[in-house]
Amino acid sequence: MKILSFGIAREIVSGPIEMSLDGDVSVAMLQTKLSELYPGLRQLSSFVIAVNGEYGQPERIVRNGDEIAIIPPVSGG
């Protein structure tokens, strides 16, 4: 599974992330996993996970093939 990242998250993870999922992994579990792999993400005001271009509820199960993205605090406008 490829994980996209943007803004400061893109700079923190520096480069594309490839991850393979064993069993049922929720959005919340993925967030924890990513925080462990990239401690810089823990310094952010917040970060959330988008699944197929929608904000992912924490309990949502992600599947191989889903488009996953790390969304740091947005600041458009």
């Binding site: 952010l44 005001s45 929608e54 904000y55």
Partner: protein, 138 residues
């Protein structure tokens, strides 16, 4: 009617307004965001905008659809720019037309407030001596 766009080209205020005008409308509210020369007292050289484009378009579409459902407005346009913008350039323009002005104001303000909260677009402030992703850190 809804017009949503993310573009790396300069936004054209005049054509955005022209799109929203119609014989049924009595009031149009337009919000134009512009790049300010300072932030917290520091001189800004430029802003750099990055979007998760496919998702940002969907979130912008949701804002527009909700506005049309909640207020009696006719048309709503939300255009956002990406890339490097200098002071005075326009990162965002929102145009709302309605029969009566209250709905246009309410929907336009809702749209920009919500865009800043939900749409996956990020800006980096670039200063003479460094740079900073806005809102990234507490």
């Amino acid at each position: 009617m809804i017009d949503i766009k993310i573009s790396s080209e300069p936004l054209d205020v005049q054509s955005c307004i022209a799109w929203a005008m119609s014989p049924e409308s009595g009031g149009i509210d337009v919000f134009i965001g512009t790049v300010r020369n300072t932030t917290k007292g520091k001189q800004v050289v430029r802003l750099e905008f990055e979007a998760y484009e496919s998702m940002a378009l969907k979130e912008m579409e949701k804002i527009a659809a909700y506005s049309l459902a909640k207020w009696p407005v006719h048309k709503i346009l939300i255009h956002h720019r990406t890339g490097a913008l200098s002071v005075g350039e326009i990162p965002v323009i929102i145009v709302v037309s309605a029969a009566h002005r209250a709905a246009a104001f309410d929907a336009c303000r809702y749209a920009i407030d919500t865009l800043k909260e939900t749409v996956p677009i990020w800006k980096k402030e670039v200063f003479e001596d460094g740079e900073r992703w806005v809102a990234a850190h507490p």
